[in-house]
């Protein structure tokens, strides 16, 4: 396929360069003239639009980054203290390909439990990854390389980037039913059907807690049933855990689904992110782990994960890893972190209550139970894209068109305005 671009049309000849002296030639055609402008990322495009809006009333409930009650981004105290300790250190050498050993150790304790036998037995292959995205991508590439015939089952709906990740890894995707639009809760029966009907040994992507974008999580009982069915079907459970601590306020509680699966003997994969629960967004701190049969296998798997990382970015960034390991490795700082993560989670739960109350007070004909039933950063409001467009155009409220509200963007200052606007666009439905 020739690189025909507008440059060619103008000049009529492909790739005729300037031969001869240095600065002459502007008569060269572009090799990239045919490149189409890419569609904007649906989630990140929201913030761009928000920033461009001059209205003083504008509200951003789009991107999932935490805001305090003044609508300001937050740097946790434990993070500031960790950074103070890290600054002025004596070297910025390359980390090993697999990343910071300390950060990995602490991450495994967080996900698998401080006293996990799997950690003691060294059965977990784990590498530092570029936040949750990077962890998922490493796993997807690894899955493609070593199980080239496998596919991935992804819940409907899910974080939109999940589809991009497994697509770019060339792993075919299937879906399983998850969200029930009528109840705005879990469609458990359909989910179990899809799990049963998938071929044995299928790979499933599960959100460990605080499902993104719906906020709908299975109950503990439901997780146990899911785990049982996974055993029967010999499915591979891959957990994306981006909100540990952020959902209920208690990291141990938020890891319950993973612990259930571990108890039941599953050999899981897990992507962990510190973007939200430590507010380390831009530091890209995360971890990918795969539980293996034994230590030998874990060593082999880890070495292969490193082989995937090496031609992608050689070794992961050190700063975020140091922050994580400094905090989690120091009992005082860890305790401070636990307090701070709980207060973030509590504020969000408070805003869920406030939003629901406001809507009910306005006399909305609809049920808004789901706002407080759902958990984590996001609320799947149930609004249609058209209703969302009205919110944006008439009320300068920015959110993704699937009706997902980032509760972290809701404050005591804007919850009334938000409720009013939602009521306006939904009252006739």
């Amino acid at each position: 396929m020739a690189a025909i671009g507008r440059g060619i049309l103008r000049r009529g000849i492909v790739g005729l360069p300037a031969v001869g002296s240095g600065s002459a030639a502007r008569s060269m055609a572009s090799w990239f003239g045919h490149v189409e402008p890419a569609a904007k990322d649906p989630i990140l495009g929201v913030t761009e639009a928000f920033l461009a809006d001059p209205s003083p009333e504008k509200v951003n409930v789009g991107v999932g980054a935490y805001r305090d009650d003044n609508g300001k981004p937050v740097v946790l105290e434990c993070v500031r203290e960790a950074e103070r300790r890290i600054a002025g250190r004596l070297n910025m050498e390359y980390l090993p390909m697999g990343g910071s050993i300390k950060m990995i150790e602490e991450s495994l304790k967080l996900a698998y439990g401080d006293d996990s036998e799997f950690i003691k037995d060294k059965r977990i292959a784990a590498v530092q990854a570029l936040s949750g995205t990077g962890a998922c991508r490493l796993f997807a590439d690894f899955q493609k390389r070593f199980l080239p015939d496998s596919q991935i089952y992804i819940p409907i709906p899910t974080w939109s980037n999940h589809h991009n990740i497994w697509r770019d890894a060339n792993v075919p995707q299937r879906t399983f039913r998850y969200y029930h639009p009528d109840t705005k809760g879990l469609d458990f029966a359909s989910m179990m059907d899809d799990i049963k009907n998938a071929p044995n040994g299928s790979f499933f992507l599960l959100h460990a807690c605080a499902h993104n974008p719906t906020g709908v999580d299975p109950s503990e009982e439901q997780w146990r049933e899911i785990s049982y069915q996974f055993k029967v079907k010999k499915h591979f459970p891959f957990f994306d855990m981006a909100y540990q601590g952020f959902a209920s306020g208690d990291p141990e509680k938020d890891a319950k689904a993973i612990r259930i699966f571990l108890e039941d003997g599953h050999q899981i994969g897990c992507a962990q992110s510190y973007a939200k629960n430590m507010g380390l967004y831009g530091q890209r701190a995360g971890c990918l782990s795969i539980l293996c049969e034994d230590e030998l296998q874990a060593v082999a798997v880890k070495s292969q994960l490193q082989q995937i990382a090496r031609p992608m970015y050689s070794n992961p960034p050190v700063h975020g890893a140091l922050v994580v390991s400094t905090i989690l490795g120091d009992p005082e700082l860890k305790s401070l972190w636990l307090k701070e993560v709980k207060s973030m989670a509590d504020r969000i739960i408070g805003m869920r209550n406030a939003l629901r109350e406001n809507l009910e007070k306005l006399g909305s004909p609809l049920s808004w139970e789901h706002i407080t039933n759902q958990i984590g950063m996001f609320c799947y409001s149930g609004m249609t894209p058209e209703q969302v467009d009205r919110l944006t155009n008439e009320f300068h409220i920015y959110m993704t068109r699937n009706g997902r509200i980032s509760m972290a963007g809701v404050t005591t200052g804007n919850v009334g305005y938000l409720a009013n606007a939602i009521h306006e666009v939904t009252k006739s439905s």
Binding site: S30, P37, V63, M92, R137, G282
Partner: protein, 466 residues
């Protein structure tokens, strides 16, 4: 892949039947799909319910990093590590530049700084400043908005993102890389979907550039093929074309419409002068043509582990640059969403021109940081140049057979000594010198105290082993 075959070979028909029988005897109907198909053990079903990754083999050690691993294991007090290319001071210690420490402190003490996600393309200031650094502040390509720059994870990340973009949007899959080149280059390009070919570069006889071979091979390359060029301080040989030779390369490439992909990992580190080290790149950009540029701050700012780099694509027009940038985002988002903020913030702080940001009160102070950086950078480059001279002198003094002038002719962190595998092994065994088996030594790992020891080792190796 080999995975499934291994499983088939290891499982006898009897064992498979036994497994199936076990499932059936428990009255488990789950193996029969709702459509009543025959039992189908999935390829991923573990043998005894074991791991689906049971047959994953251990990957071989990375040859370069393996050198440091071996060095660490050695208890000898005489050991010298000339493996990995990270700068070391005269005392053999890693170095964090003063100006970097200053920048970090400033960032730390700025309470309004937050750690939110960067845009997919990274820190905007950093991108602009990086483009200026490599292409020159007066670059017409920049002034005409024909350059798109995206922050990436150091040189590796920039190469990978650029290669992925080419694999998707460029009509030629072939990329020509010099022989030899950095060990990770072939993997980066292959995984991105490009087809790796080579062009002659290093001449073992002269320990210099095989210019004829280079021209011949590029001349034979299909029109439009991509060509990887080390902007300066070629890794691993330290052999760079002269400016004249660069001009000839440029003309040849433009006449064949070969697409240049520059890897610039040592700007400022090679000669000590940032502009001099960017000459080759600027020559190409000045002729109005397109190219890709992978930039790394790992060595020249000592930011190794922070993974700071930038990919620039110089396009024929501003319109094209905008579209190209939008497509680069689609490569990045499913890889890691957005790049790490810390290292890029440090670089931007140091590179900032006082006239760019009037919000800062300390205008003079900031330009000071850039100046300070150039001074510290020159000091690092000078120390390496001095090590080259000292090693050459030491070998001359010992009357070591052979022509060792390439040590002072080659440039940058590495010297391709010309020693063969056996000689290298000998040096490791007898003298505890650790280096890669291709004869490459990292000059940054040397100091005045260790040079005599290395010279002795080379002298012995050359005399005892041919």
């Amino acid at each position: 892949m080999g995975n499934e075959n291994a499983r088939d070979q290891s499982s006898s028909p009897g064992r498979r039947l036994a497994t199936l029988a076990r499932h059936l005897s428990v009255g488990d109907t789950s193996l029969i799909s709702s459509r009543g198909e025959a039992i189908n053990t999935a390829p991923t079903a573990g043998f005894h319910g074991g791991s689906v990754f049971a047959n994953v083999a251990q990957a071989p050690e990375d040859p370069i990093l393996g050198v440091t691993v071996a060095y660490n294991k050695d208890p000898s007090p005489m050991k010298v590590n000339l493996g990995v290319g990270a700068y070391r001071t005269e005392e053999g210690k890693p170095l964090v530049l003063n100006v970097v420490k200053k920048a970090e402190k400033m960032l730390l003490n700025n309470p309004s700084r937050v750690k939110e996600y960067l845009p997919i393309t990274g820190l905007a200031d950093f991108n602009k400043l990086s483009a200026k650094l490599i292409f020159g502040a007066d670059s017409r390509a920049i002034q005409e908005n024909r350059v798109t720059t995206v922050q990436c994870l150091s040189g590796t990340g920039s190469l990978r993102v650029g290669a992925e973009f080419l694999a998707r949007h460029y009509n030629k899959r072939a990329i020509f890389i010099p022989q030899p080149t950095w060990g990770n280059h072939p993997k980066v390009f292959t995984l991105a979907g490009l087809s790796v070919k080579t062009y002659r570069y290093y001449d073992p006889k002269t320990r210099g550039l095989n210019f004829q071979g280079l021209l011949e091979d590029l001349n034979m390359a299909p029109s439009g093929a991509i060509v990887l060029l080390h902007a300066c301080a070629h890794n691993p040989t330290g052999v760079d074309p002269t400016l004249d030779q660069w001009e000839q390369i440029r003309r040849l490439m433009r006449s064949k419409s070969l697409l240049p992909f520059f890897d610039s990992a040592y700007q400022g580190f090679a000669s000590g002068n940032l502009d001099a080290d960017a000459q080759s790149v600027r020559m190409f950009v000045a002729d109005g043509g397109e190219c890709l540029m992978a930039q790394s701050y790992a060595k020249n700012m000592g930011l190794y582990g922070e993974r700071v780099g930038a990919l620039s694509i110089v396009c024929e027009s501003a319109d094209v640059a905008v579209k190209v940038e939008s497509q680069l985002k689609l490569v990045i988002r499913p890889m890691y969403s957005n790049p790490p903020i810390h290292g890029a913030s440090i670089v931007a702080t140091i590179l900032k021109d006082s006239s760019v940001d009037k919000a800062y009160v300390f205008l003079c102070f900031l330009r000071e940081m850039y100046r300070e950086w150039t001074i510290e950078l020159k000091a690092m480059a000078n120390r390496i140049i001095s090590m080259r001279q000292q090693l050459f002198n030491a070998l001359s003094a010992r009357g070591t057979p052979g022509d060792w002038s390439h040590i002072i002719k080659q440039i940058g962190m590495f010297t391709f000594t010309g020693l063969n595998k056996e000689q290298v092994s000998f040096m490791t065994r007898e003298y505890h010198i650790y280096m890669t088996s291709d004869g490459r030594i990292s000059m940054a790992g040397l100091n005045t105290k260790t040079i005599p020891h290395l010279a002795d080792a080379i002298h012995a190796a050359v005399n005892r082993i041919k």
